[in-house]
Symmetry: C2
Subunit: 455 residues, 2 copies
């Protein structure tokens, strides 16, 4: 019943490749353009944070039948491992028994996704930059360099999956009344490596996301299949403890020995990596509309780039594709309606996960080192176990459910208001397991309204 | 003591011309570029809202000795004249005795400012678009069209006074970590005209800003020297009462007769104007940083475009220039320091007036038609008159004082919180002049904290 369309996807990253597989499964002709060379032919590293695949990501892969294939590349992480100087390693489970997030190298996953998309019949055109796009015609103009003779090709529709600095969005931005914002954090990041032991085993506990929370800055480490860990140092660009200050090998060495004494030995190439790898910026990008007529749509980071502190960037992008697929099931060839409902449905959720991700830096870098915060988590978890119908912790709602992000944000605000009151109770440290506390939370739940904001 | 510099100003609008006068007074060589023809040689009309000059604007003109000259072009407006169907015309004073804002036609003022800048020795280069700018070198590349042979010229520094869609800012935007947002209202606007009577007098009360508040939309009219009024219709682009719906002459005529019966006869060219004049969009633009090294700085709308509902766009831009001048007095040739302090000092205030302007649409279009709101204003004004040291109404603080906008926003929020409580008092309609109410406000003032946000 559905007509086969000619569709261009700009960007061969994770979201673009997944979209190509979905579209091929629906019987469309799909060309994926990328300005970079085929990632399968090059060395990929130096400015990535390992991915943390969670439920939303897996559901999008399952629906198109590739979850099992991808799971082979992933390492289960069921807890945070929190490293505080002078204290024993502290393990904080992410969810209930059996719930976990999964560490995957971005490069490894991207290669696999392109391979799977190609197997599904997608045509990839690498090293071909989209210089311009006619939105009304869905015609794209490509070429290796700007001065090259350019090629033009008209499609039935075009998807912009070309990331935070999307060329497709750039073209849409020139319309009047296009809302757009880009907001950079004062914190940047740098990739470092903990290599495997000689026997290929991991130097740190394998099934954990390791965190060294230090307030304004933090180090994290996520496991890889080859026994190594990809580490990311998050730190302000300027100020007291900052990338700007660490401008000599001595200073870097001393900084790591002082702040990360338990791990500095495990990063043997610290100094060369620190000065070779770029210091990258972190940006939140919001825009609207995401679509143009029935011709053009933005997906993933091109529509909603977020900071990485909730591990939801890829998951949110994959969920875009799954939602598009559901709408295509309902509205078949009515692409105008599909696009309108897609942007209206996804935008409030994209805004919500942007906000949650922004807030989570504080939680990871500061609060995981705070005993009050850890007690708060214990009280919440205890209550949630007893009343799973009444309380799903915010992290679980974002990570282990497919309920809308906007709802998670609103529930999280409500729970925070309630827990603020609970934490004011005198001697809460001693009394937190008392029956009264449970009753008090139940009473507060009755009294505290839920506010879902649809901006 | 101060060295004479070669300075380029991009944009010959109100703020660019004023800056040129200030810089000439300090002994610098000043070239002002504009892509448009000299406004003095062309007919100017069709998409402007008359300006409302208030204290901040006048102070900036006085400091450079041109306030008297400009005052000749202005008409004093000491009140709002509120037109509600079936009710008598209601006059709401803007401030205390003697306080007023001043209506000036944008075109008339701009011509005068260019004339004054030229007289001060500024060189104007019209019909010369700045296509590119080298930020490190303060070199600008100009020409009539993009394909023309371009001219390049190096300056000591460059100011971007080129408005909301600034080319200079566009270049700064390409740097990493440049924060930027553009946010459009769903409301647009269209200019209309009430011509003068045959004897040159005004058809409506001359010394008022006339408002026809209708909730989602409103009409305003500001007086001109020639006896005419410049009217602006603000209305949603789409929806029930919207520009989209008014697509035939009949519909426009009926719409005006229905909603603005007391003024429709005074707009004899309603239909031709409605279909000839553009429907313009309203945008808030925020960005940071505003400067680049000691070479480039943004001023006025290029740094902070706001919606017009507080009448502060030009006033805020003029205040930028006055602040720059103060910093030049203090730091003389240290342009790096001048620029750092300028952007750090102005940014929180630009954000505050953006927020206040956004909120004021609701006040003008809806609340001025609301009896509860008018009572609230009466209570506030009565208290302010008795306790001028304790209560300056928000509108006065923005319009008739030079206290920072950020402080006005914070004071306004505090006053609103207090007045919300007062308006909850039973029978407040009867009791508002009682001694108790005054005492209650005094008590609430003690209890309500002031929160100045510096983002």
């Amino acid at each position: 019943m559905q007509e086969s369309k000619n569709i261009a996807v700009v960007g061969s990253g994770l979201v673009g490749s997944l979209l190509a597989i979905y579209l091929r499964n629906r019987g469309h002709e799909v060309d994926v353009y990328d300005r970079r060379p085929d990632i399968r032919t090059i060395e990929f590293s130096g400015r990535s944070i390992n991915l943390a695949m969670s439920l939303r990501g897996w559901l999008a892969l399952e629906e198109v039948g590739i979850a099992d294939e991808v799971k082979k590349l992933a390492i289960r992480m069921d807890k945070r491992a929190i490293h505080i100087p002078g204290k024993p390693l502290y393990f904080q489970p992410y969810g209930k028994e059996g719930e976990a997030i999964y560490s995957i190298s971005r490069g490894v996953l991207n290669k696999k996704m392109i391979e799977l998309a190609e197997k599904a019949g997608t045509r990839f055109i690498f090293e071909s930059k989209v210089w311009d796009i006619n939105l009304d015609e869905a015609t794209i103009h490509t070429g290796k360099t700007e001065n090259d003779a350019r090629e033009s090709r008209k499609y039935d529709c075009v998807f912009g999956a070309d990331g935070a600095f999307s060329r497709v969005r750039h073209k849409m931005q020139r319309q009047s009344r296009f809302n757009y914002s880009q907001e950079f954090l004062k914190t940047g990041y740098k990739e470092l490596t903990i290599p495997a032991n000689r026997d290929g085993t991991h130097k740190l506990e394998k099934h954990s996301l390791h965190i060294w929370p230090r307030g304004e800055f933090m180090l994290i480490a996520l496991p890889n299949l080859d026994g190594s860990f990809t580490c990311t140092l998050f730190m302000p660009f300027e100020g007291k403890n900052s990338f700007e200050m660490l401008d000599t090998e001595d200073k870097v060495q001393q900084f790591f020995e002082h702040h990360f004494p338990d791990v500095v030995e495990d990063i043997p190439s610290l100094l060369p990596e620190f000065f070779r790898n770029p210091t990258s910026a972190l940006v939140t990008i919001r825009c609207f509309p995401w679509t143009y007529s029935d011709k053009v749509a933005l997906v993933g980071d091109a529509a909603h780039a977020i900071v990485p502190f909730y591990g939801q960037g890829m998951n949110a992008g994959f969920e875009d594709i799954r939602m598009l697929n559901h709408l295509m099931n309902i509205h078949e060839d009515d692409w105008g309606t599909i696009f309108r409902q897609y942007e209206a449905g996804r935008k409030p959720n994209a805004d919500a996960i942007a906000e949650l991700s922004f807030r989570n830096f504080m939680e990871m870098s500061t609060k995981t080192a705070d005993t009050g915060f850890l007690l708060r988590k214990k009280i919440e978890n205890r209550f949630a176990e007893k009343h799973p119908d009444k309380w799903q912790p915010l992290y679980s709602r974002v990570t282990f459910s497919e309920r809308p992000y906007a709802e998670a944000l609103a529930e999280g605000d409500r729970q925070r208001a309630i827990m603020d009151r609970i934490m004011e109770i005198e001697d809460i440290e001693e009394r937190w397991e008392d029956e009264e506390i449970e009753q008090e939370i139940l009473a507060l739940l009755e009294d505290t309204p839920l506010k879902v904001v649809n901006r």
